[in-house]
Symmetry: C2
Subunit: 644 residues, 2 copies
């Protein structure tokens, strides 16, 4: 059955001798069937029920349980060798998670212990439900920042800490509910609208905002602005120079240099991942010892203070489902939910691609969502898969989600027995841990427009606000896509001499135009947004073609306009009128319109419209441009010879 | 030079013997040059400066003047024969414009005489600036309705008529400013987002809303709701049955039947256009005589009352450019501006297509915009090209915009001398004139989704509000387009035996798959919104293909995945990563990724990215699927033979 080149040549020869190939109308399908296919492609592109087909009831049950709880899939095969790797990586990420948890909770204006609570329950839930092997779960900086700033605009965390905590847990609940619903309703593609360029710009901007917020603890300022923009923060910093504390600045500077150096080393040599992974915990221990030894808390260095021992207290009685704050917590939940979901899914996919396994986006959403719903009633705030910790987890050689369990157990031990040790940990070190330097990028080189999107996200986050910067960048990305639809490419095709291949005249130098034919290819669905443009553009193509011909004194007029519709994947009602109008306009100029290779949907819709029916008669359609030209040339010849 | 079929066959034969054709990188162009081309395609698709090329300064000046004032183009050629036709049509539309003008002004809660003012100045301006020969300019129902209802929500036209009038003129000014700016900035494509389906649904809904509003005058109710939804209007009607006046109902019913009958006759026989054109004026005259003869104004029939004689007074001192109402008038101007612009442009294009001349959308916007700006300072409110009147104009045989001038002169005579005659015209007849029956449509048959859009616009207008109904319909249309981008079609191709043509396996029954090859065609730009989906979908294609093969016990594994990129008109940064990731994923499965016929932009972007460069090496790309298959088959053969 394998064709080779000589078979092929023969085949082509035969084809040229026989009749040209007609465009077949697509096989008939009912409206319901079409709807079913489209819904499936939209909501179930991964066909999750595929594996269930043709299995016995028992197998189906097991497969179903494994689908909902991935731990049942890999759990039975779990071995001691795997456990060894997971213990190493679990302890490594725990050493990172404890100081980060405390720091991020402070970033969200929450009590530091909430950060530890959030590193205990959610990882356990994720280990059971999640399908990524590398994701290290816990609080993340950007979601913490956004939640803190959104809630702080309405309620003061200093004046009304209980209410603030209640709102934080309620927001977490709604974030989880929203994330899980996206997964259940299979609407995961919504997060696809956050493009890479948007995310890079957003992350870079947010990193700077987060770092600037740390100037409060790094400089030891007590009266700090509540706003997040770069302008109010810097104003606040330089208006309160009298509050700067040199002891804090010195300590902060030393640990900041140490941490950035450690991160730099790990970035250069991924094998030394433990340097950056261990540095935060080491900083916390060292600084705590320093404060304890020199009683620095009496010399202007602020410390965390007493933390309560014990595991997560229940918090479901703290959730607000009504009252005046409902709108606020739903909005906060929505935004932090979508941001943290995007980070979690992106991180999961990145490492899954590296290890060549699949992560089901919609399933991950349900896992992350449930994890936050459970978290909200066990004193946790928004958590997701964090990029920095997952990278450490991956480099430390984690094999399964058991590394999350190990981390959770370590945090549990800390919560139960080690809390008094944090009493003297200075806030300045927590600030230093959060500071990051945004990554550079090569987007400019590839796509100028994407770079613009990135810049908008970056500057929007810095100068307007975190949410609006993101909204602007998403808006611009969507607008670009709409603009592509509104101004689809029309390409003039020419024959590549010695073949029946037709390609873009302005790209392929060797392509030549066929006298008497204007061959255009339309490269987008034809719909309401572009029919007007296409009509104008095609009219201009014809005029230009005729002028060029007149200049060349060839005196060959255009007789046929061939539209190659291979790339027109869909049309709507306006598109059908477009063909009708175009045919009418061309007929007035004595030109014939010929359609080549329309897809099934286009043929069907044309045939269903009363006025455009004749355009889609099978004997008026051609399968390739080459066949159309050959056939039309011979028609013209036979006509002219019969008249002579 | 004309190829014939035997030449062609020979050519193909030669092609098969020589080397396969390589994909050429596109000719080099600088970033600036590319930006220039893209901006030109986006904002100047009609290339308006085309005609100026290579002309002398004097000719350029004349052409420029003609471009700005189309009257200079057709004016010099104007003849007596044309004038005769224009006088007939001008008088016909005047007989329609006078009663409609009064009615529409009442619909907008404005004094009736403003409707006549608005039928005098704007047509004169349009005659000089407009490029349509059939457009009959004046107030229209939907824009009147929207303006009236938006302003009435803030200011009561009964309690504060002067302020209401000032706001109406100010809104008209902003509508004009907005329309003209859209034209100047060449952003005309914004109105393209109002699809045919949206407009039909919207118009039908608005027609019902307008008609329902007329129940006030048709039933003689004095305490009527200020809202526009179908529910409050009907509630208001049946809660005020005691206010119903039988004289008014009788009179209204008779004239309504007469007018609908007249319209029905003209619709059936377009030659009898004058029946529906004359009916409104005849109704006004008859009813006025009836009222006058029976002194019916004393028996519960409300009449227009005294109207001031004289031409439009200046109103520029009534425009509000600051103060608390600025936001309201800008918003009202924006919405009425875009609605009336859409109607005007659509009407202009419809009749231009019938008579086969061009209407420049951006130029029309400037004309309509300037007409409203001038109108706002001469006591006119929002005007545009009305569909009903333009159809009458066209049927009455108008030749140029002179028919608008004739209409304006007739209105002028009316304003100067005939105003006392309207004193006894009953409001009920004005109500009857406005009532229309929405048109049916065949959209359901062609596109189910478009029908949904139409229904949303229709029901939204009826049950929510005119503006929101429109917004919902536009939102759904845009969402549909985005969904198409998010879930692009991927089609599996097979060889049509005896040719080197590859087409959709599921559409063409005769197409067969080539063993060892999975040939996919992607039919949309690849960007952030669809890379995740495409990755998942392609993975599933491969799995399905392998399972099918396994079932057929052919034991032929896939070796090559060929992506036909002919229809991928653009990619962005995410698209570049997509190819990189896909290549990596396929390599892990021992599959080779081969790209066929990428367009210039795609080649360039792939080459510019460091990681994806090798995918776009000219010797890895093929021009057609056929050549790729032939060439790869022979490579495999030579490899296997060298190993054996």
């Amino acid at each position: 059955m394998e064709p080779n080149s000589s078979d092929h040549r023969e085949a082509v020869e035969i084809a040229m001798e026989t009749e040209v190939h007609r465009v077949a109308p697509p096989p008939h399908r009912s409206t319901l069937e079409k709807l079913r296919t489209r819904l499936k492609e939209t909501f179930f592109p991964d066909d999750p029920l595929r594996q269930f087909k043709g299995q016995s009831w028992k197998v189906k049950l097991i497969l179903g349980a494994q689908y909902i709880f991935p731990i049942l899939e890999w759990g039975p095969k779990y071995s001691l060798t795997l456990l060894k790797s997971d213990i190493v990586s679990g302890l490594t990420i725990a050493s990172l998670a404890i100081p980060q948890g405390i720091s991020y909770a402070k970033l969200a204006n929450l009590p530091p212990i909430v950060g530890l609570y959030s590193s205990f329950v959610p990882p356990l839930i994720y280990a059971v439900l999640g399908s990524s092997r590398d994701l290290a779960v816990g609080p993340v900086s950007i979601a913490s920042l956004i939640m803190g700033s959104m809630l702080r605009q309405v309620v003061s965390p200093a004046k009304d800490p209980i209410l603030f905590l209640q709102l934080a847990f309620s927001s977490t609940f709604f974030a989880g509910l929203f994330q899980a619903s996206l997964g259940f309703l299979r609407l995961g593609f919504i997060i696809d609208f956050l493009s890479k360029a948007t995310l890079i710009g957003f992350m870079a901007g947010a990193a700077i905002i987060v770092s600037l917020q740390q100037l409060k603890s790094l400089l030891g300022i007590t009266h700090f602005t509540k706003k997040m923009g770069i302008v109010p923060v810097l104003t606040s910093v330089f208006h309160n120079t009298h509050e700067w504390s040199w002891e804090t600045i010195l300590m902060g500077f030393c640990f900041l240099v140490f941490l950035l150096l450690a991160r730099h080393i790990s970035m250069k040599k991924p094998k030394l991942f433990w340097v950056s992974a261990g540095a935060p915990l080491l900083s916390v221990i060292l600084s705590t010892l320093l404060v304890f030894a020199f009683k620095a808390q009496n010399h202007g260095i602020s410390v965390i203070g007493k933390l309560q021992e014990g595991l997560n207290p229940p918090s479901w009685n703290m959730l607000h489902f009504h009252g005046s704050y409902l709108g606020l917590v739903m909005k906060t939940g929505l935004i932090t939910g979508i941001i943290s979901l995007t980070e979690g899914i992106a991180v999961g996919r990145t490492f899954a691609a590296l290890k060549n396994y699949q992560v089901d986006g919609n399933k991950e959403m349900i896992a992350i969502g449930l994890m936050n719903i459970v978290g909200s009633s066990t004193s946790c705030y928004v958590t997701t898969g964090a990029f920095s910790r997952s990278a450490v987890n991956h480099n430390a050689g984690c094999k399964t989600a058991v590394s999350n369990i190990i981390m959770a157990v370590t945090v549990m031990v800390t919560l139960l027995f080690l809390m008094p040790l944090f009493q003297y940990t200075p806030n300045v070190v927590l600030g230093a841990i959060i500071v990051t330097v945004p990554a550079a990028c090569q987007i400019w080189k590839i796509d100028k427009f994407d770079f613009l999107v990135m810049l908008c996200a970056f500057l929007g986050v810095l100068f307007i606000s975190v949410q609006e910067g993101l909204a602007i960048a998403v808006g611009i990305s969507v607008f670009k896509v709409l603009l592509q639809i509104t101004r689809p490419k029309t390409v003039i095709l020419g024959n590549i001499p010695g073949t029946d291949i037709y390609r873009n005249l302005h790209h392929y130098k060797e392509a030549v135009s066929v006298p008497g034919f204007l061959i255009l290819s339309i490269e987008a669905p034809i719909n309401f947004a572009n029919t007007t443009y296409l009509k104008e553009r095609i009219t201009r193509w014809i005029e230009e073609y005729e002028t060029e011909d007149a200049n060349a004194k060839k005196k060959s007029e255009v007789k046929f306009v061939i539209l190659d519709l291979s790339a027109v994947s869909a049309i709507d009602t306006n598109g059908v009128s477009f063909f009708k109008d175009l045919k009418m306009a061309l007929e007035k100029k004595n030109l014939e319109l010929v359609l080549v290779n329309p897809v099934g949907e286009v043929i069907e819709k044309l045939q269903r419209a009363d006025d455009a029916k004749e355009l889609a008669r099978p004997d008026c359609l051609f399968l390739t441009v080459g066949e159309a030209v050959t056939s039309l040339v011979s028609t013209v010849k036979s006509h002219s010879s019969s008249y002579v």
